[in-house]
Amino acid sequence: MTEITYRSKPSGTQLMRKLSSFRSFVVRLFRENPLGAIGAVVCLIFLFAAIFADLLAPYGFNQIMPSNRTKPPSWQFWFGTDHLGRDIFSRVLYGARLSIIIALAASMLATIISVVIGIITGYLGGKIDMIAQRFVDAWMSFPDIVILIVVVAVVGPGMLQIILVLGCLYGVAGSRIIRSAVLSVREQSFIHAAQSIGGSNTRVIWRHILPNIMPPIIVLFTMRVGAVILVEAALSFLGLGVPPPTPTWGGMLTGSARNYMYLAPWMAIAPGICLTIVVFSVNMFGDALRDLLDPRMSGTR
């Protein structure tokens, strides 16, 4: 006997239905992809910590305690203190706020730009594609960091600038991946079928192309989150990131931590581990999402 996947639609209002489909999604996430579920939970914990940093942090992020400089982790200072006597745990919490905001916002922007350029050039093809792709070639031939340095030098360092520049930078580069995905989907006969039925371009793109290129979009997004956090760290290292004393993980990792590597390794270890965990869990969650959204991968057959 094969298992029948047909489920009767729950009755009730639209909201109720949405809630129940969300609940069944969460159940499936935990049952079919526990690793992805762990990723989601960890992401949520970090998001929670970032949002409520004010309440959770035992000290201010710039509260200097000269008598407690470079103290190792202890009950009083969970992650130790840095060379100025600031509590690293508190700084990591506040840093999460900036790092996660930058990472999510820039990745989101980058993904949206990639999808828009990729779909327009891939679906319409022809001359538009030719011109847009030569533009992308030109854009990608500049080293990322050089563009960043120029922009920051002109408009000054700050969170918004970093988000916009990284978003555009990765967005244009990622459009190639989306475009190739669109090209392969466009040639399938269900697209032809939708057109021959009389579906408009907008409809074909929204209902057929977009859902079918979700896997590369999700992978692109999760990869960008990691990349943005690391580039932000590089920028902070060059002194072009969010200006101190505001903590970001990248800044904490690469700033003065290098000078105290032997004396107080925890200064780099704490933000480094957080960074790794966030990047890893976003990737895990992204993979799980990709599998769960694909009807072909669903467990019941």
């Binding site: 047909y6 006969s189 269900f190 009389g198 057929h208 694909d294 009807p295």
Partner: protein, 335 residues
């Protein structure tokens, strides 16, 4: 006289579609500057008509332009020259917006049952999509009723409505494809090798379904296929294509009983006979050589390079399609 459909009253026309001297050429670009080096003449002067409620079989070997003809009739490919008249309206130069209301009246069933259904949509959504596009059943419950009706019509269990294409067999997918095409009550169905990707046992089921539906709904069909047995089963008239032209067009019985064109004869001879004794004793007339390039078709009659009855005139003058009774043939042997 007229016909009542969901969308209202339509005047009765004898020929639902008429195609005159249709040419579809694809430009081939090559060389350093991507210059045009001459077209591929995929369809080169094809004329036929399909009557109300009739099935026209379109047969020929791979690359002869039969699928291209189907797509051009559907206006999914740019037409180089010629005229396509659908229900008395000249649609040759319609753009995609003008075609939209026409698309409701002519639908297509595809060859590949795996690729022609969106893997991310459930069966119910796939079938109701044409209804949404043409705004036929505007509320959800009505649409669902129509989808249910269509599923019953093509013989798919109703609990499949929530399933996805990958959970269906090839035959079931093709049934869904047919249901999607029939959803908007078209008058003309263009079937591009609808059964050639299926197992033989399933082919029979789907072919029977086609006939049943056609009788029930009074559909006109252009049935593109390379399987002569299937075409014989479903069509009233059959057109044989070779290298972008129609070489013979005749009523089914006429064509299968007494093929005239040497190419048709060779095709008929290639149908295996089920009786092994007869099959072994049968004289095989085979065609030598390869189908010539559609970019540089032979002069005169296109079949003269492979024809066993070739005459001097064949390489000089292209024979016209001449009708005689129920059949038309383009061959100098009959003129």
């Amino acid at each position: 006289m007229g016909i009542h459909t969901l969308a209202g009253w339509y005047p009765m026309v004898d020929n639902i579609i008429e195609v005159e001297a249709l040419k579809v050429h694809f430009p081939v670009r090559g060389g350093f500057l991507q210059r045009e080096v001459g077209p591929v003449r995929a369809v080169d002067g094809v004329s036929f008509f399909v009557q109300e409620g009739e099935t026209l079989g379109l047969v020929g070997e791979s690359g002869c332009g039969k699928s291209t003809t189907g797509l051009a009739v559907l206006r999914m490919l740019p037409v180089t020259s010629g005229k396509i008249t659908f229900e008395g309206i000249d649609i040759t130069n319609f753009d995609q917006n003008e075609m939209r209301p026409i698309r409701r009246r002519m639908q297509m069933v595809y060859q590949d049952p795996f690729g022609s259904l969106d893997p991310r949509m459930s069966i119910g959504d796939i079938i109701s999509e044409p209804l949404e596009i043409h705004r036929l059943h505007n509320n959800k419950a009505d649409r669902r009723d129509r989808v249910t009706e269509l599923l019953l019509m093509v013989g798919i269990r109703l609990d499949m409505i929530e399933r996805y294409p990958h959970q269906l067999s090839g035959g079931q997918r093709q049934r869904v494809s047919i249901a999607r095409a029939l959803a908007v009550e078209p008058r003309l169905l263009i079937c591009d090798e609808p059964v050639s990707a299926l197992d033989v046992s399933i082919q029979a089921q789907v072919v029977n379904l086609f006939q049943e539906l056609q009788e029930k709904l009074g559909l006109s069909t252009i049935f593109v296929a390379h399987d002569l047995a299937v075409v014989r089963h479903v069509s009233q008239r059959v057109a044989v294509m070779y290298l972008g032209t129609i070489v013979e067009i005749a009523s089914r019985d006429e064509l299968y009983a007494s093929p005239k064109h040497p190419y048709t004869k060779a095709l008929m001879a290639a149908i295996p006979v089920p009786n092994p004794v007869l099959e072994a004793s049968r004289a095989h007339q085979t065609i030598d050589g390869e189908i010539p390039s559609a970019q540089r078709p032979p002069s005169g009659c296109r079949f003269h390079t492979r024809c066993i009855h070739v005459m001097p005139i064949c390489s000089e003058i292209a024979p016209e399609l001449r009708s005689e009774g129920n059949s038309s043939v383009a061959c100098h042997l009959y003129s």
